[in-house]
Amino acid sequence: MVETALPRPGLPTAAEILAPSPGVLLRRRIFRHWGLLAGALILGAVLAMALLAPMLAPFDPYDQQLDRKLIPPIWHASTKATWTHVLGTDQLGRDYLSRLLYGAQISLLIGVSAMLISGMIGTTLGVLAGYFGGRVDMVVSFIISTRLSLPVVLVALAVVAIIGTSLNVVIWVLGLLIWDRFAVVMRSATQQVRTREFITAAQALGASTPRILFTEVAPNVINHLIVVATLEMAHAILLEASLSFLGLGVQPPTPSWGLMISEAKGLMFFDPWLISIPGVALFLLVLAINMLGDGLRDVTAPENRS
């Protein structure tokens, strides 16, 4: 038979040798995903706002100046608007820009803390259920079902009302309540990894369970964890805002964005900026975190995209 000039299988072609490494490919995907970049940028800006608040804020957020109350923001056509108070002042004369900056601290602090607590609880439950299966899975699934049946906002409100409102209480109550998504996602991610051969191989080598969990399972489920963590952080921020809005979260005079909206709702017909400024801030922060989470999901596992 005539020899055909085709490359033999088994040897790499020139194209394969010159192909970029997975790390480079990942970086490329990240920089091509505008949602991820926009989310990261906005989140970074809010983080900067929060960390640098003491330096950026023109006034003390608690400083009441009753002769300067209800000054509209700079874009209003009113004579009262002034560059001294770019975003205006609230009904107690406190500078809104300063309160906004310090409010970022509260939102991010609670968001991250609650996310860490719920993340630890949910991930532990989920990974154990996914890895061991059988009875462990049954018990964990039962616990998850029970938690899902509880109306979160109601229970959070009730508990906070009974125990007392403080930053710590809010963080812990939220952390102890919103771990369900972590558990569900990590359980299914672990189940998928569990059936892969390198786990069986590690077990055959006599590796202990904790070792397998940390060295084999963890690297493969970490991308799911990061995605859920960002989305739950946004969830925690929204919940805290709701609690503060209802008066059972952060207490006045602390500048929580949800609380600022609540304090202003009586005045919103006349001075709508009082609710729109913190509202937009909340919206942008949560939007940014969600876009970041969705972007991370797209970039690390595009086949999971709905």
Partner: protein, 338 residues
């Protein structure tokens, strides 16, 4: 003289892909008469399924179809819009697909899915449609037809589902049936039954049948005429007996050589293969598409596109050296000029 059911002339199908234009079907022409079984043979990716989908008007939206002529019972299909085409599909021509396990809607009963086409095209009453459905289930060899109507697809085996698909295709008595690898997904024993059934129904209903397959054994059993496709083109066509007794295209010869023949194939010797890979159909290929894998290729083969040439009595071949193949498959080796 049998009525000509389908005429296809110079059918082309192009798919835009990221790297360019994939010319999946390039200038395919054939015809089918009533009572004839035309088999389109070729390996995966040669364009045979797309040919059938193009005739039915079921190509993906991105694909482009062109044809000099595409007639069903004398009526031009190329000028028909989607609404007119949907009036014809399932009605005057029908298609059977490869995967019986997934080709039926799991949410509706067999009866419902059978009667749908009839009520859409012929506006029969529910009762009349039901009677006809039972009749057809009977004719495709399904017992207890009346009770089957209420069953759901997941309650039937693969072979039974394919029979239901065939019955569904026959509901409006089409003049033409296109069957795309109808037996590939079935067990070997069921395959024979289904083929038998198709052949019988074709006679009873006096239809034209286009059967697409990669299995030469099937072709040998029921084809009246054969079309061999390779890399988007027809490389050989003719009556089944002519093509099988004296294949004149190296690809056809290669295909036939791959089949082990009891008595001739010697034990311990490697089975025949055609080395190499199908060429990419993105962009155009200079010369013969098969040249890279052809044991008889000469420079002239790669120089210019090869036309289909007649080789006597309805037999056509796309090879400039076909006259040199003067003997059949299993006699003395063909005379070849290197």
């Amino acid at each position: 003289m049998s009525e000509r059911v389908l005429t296809v002339e110079d059918l082309r199908v192009t798919l835009p892909v990221p790297t360019g234009n994939l010319r999946a079907v390039q200038g395919v022409s054939f015809h089918v008469d009533r009572g004839e079984t035309l088999c389109i043979v070729g390996e995966s990716g040669c364009g045979k399924s797309l040919t059938a989908l193009a005739i039915m008007g079921l190509l993906p939206t991105r694909a482009e179809r062109q044809a000099a002529r595409l007639d069903l019972q004398g009526h031009d299909l190329t000028s028909l819009g989607e609404r007119a085409m949907s009036d014809i599909r399932g009605n005057r021509m029908a298609m059977i697909f490869q995967e019986p396990m997934t080709s039926l809607n799991p949410a509706y009963s067999i009866g419902d899915q059978l009667q749908e086409a009839l009520r859409r095209h012929k506006r029969l009453s529910h009762q009349d449609a039901r009677t006809r459905a039972i009749e057809l289930l009977d004719r495709v060899g399904i017992t207890a037809a009346a009770s089957r109507l209420k069953q759901y697809p997941h309650q039937l085996s693969g072979g039974l589902r394919q029979r239901v698909m065939i019955a569904m295709a026959l509901m409006c008595q089409p003049a033409l049936i296109l069957a795309d690898e109808p037996t590939t997904a079935l067990d070997v024993t069921i395959q024979a039954q289904i083929l038998h059934l198709l052949a019988r129904l074709q006679r009873e209903f006096a239809m034209g049948l286009v059967l697409i397959t990669h299995d030469l054994g099937i072709v040998a059993r029921i084809a009246t005429r054969v079309v061999v496709m390779y890399a988007g083109q027809i490389v050989e066509t003719g009556s089944a007996s002519a093509v099988f007794s004296l294949p004149r295209h190296p690809y056809t010869r290669g295909l036939l050589a791959c089949i082990p023949v009891p008595g001739r194939t010697r034990r311990g010797e490697p089975l025949g293969t055609i080395p190499g890979l199908v060429p990419s159909l993105v962009g155009s290929i200079a010369g013969c598409h098969f040249a890279r894998r052809c044991p008889y290729a000469i420079d002239a083969c790669r120089a210019a596109p090869v036309p289909l040439e007649p080789a006597g009595d309805g037999h056509q071949v796309r090879c400039i050296r076909h006259r040199e193949f003067t003997t059949g498959m299993f006699s003395a080796p063909p005379v070849a000029v290197a």
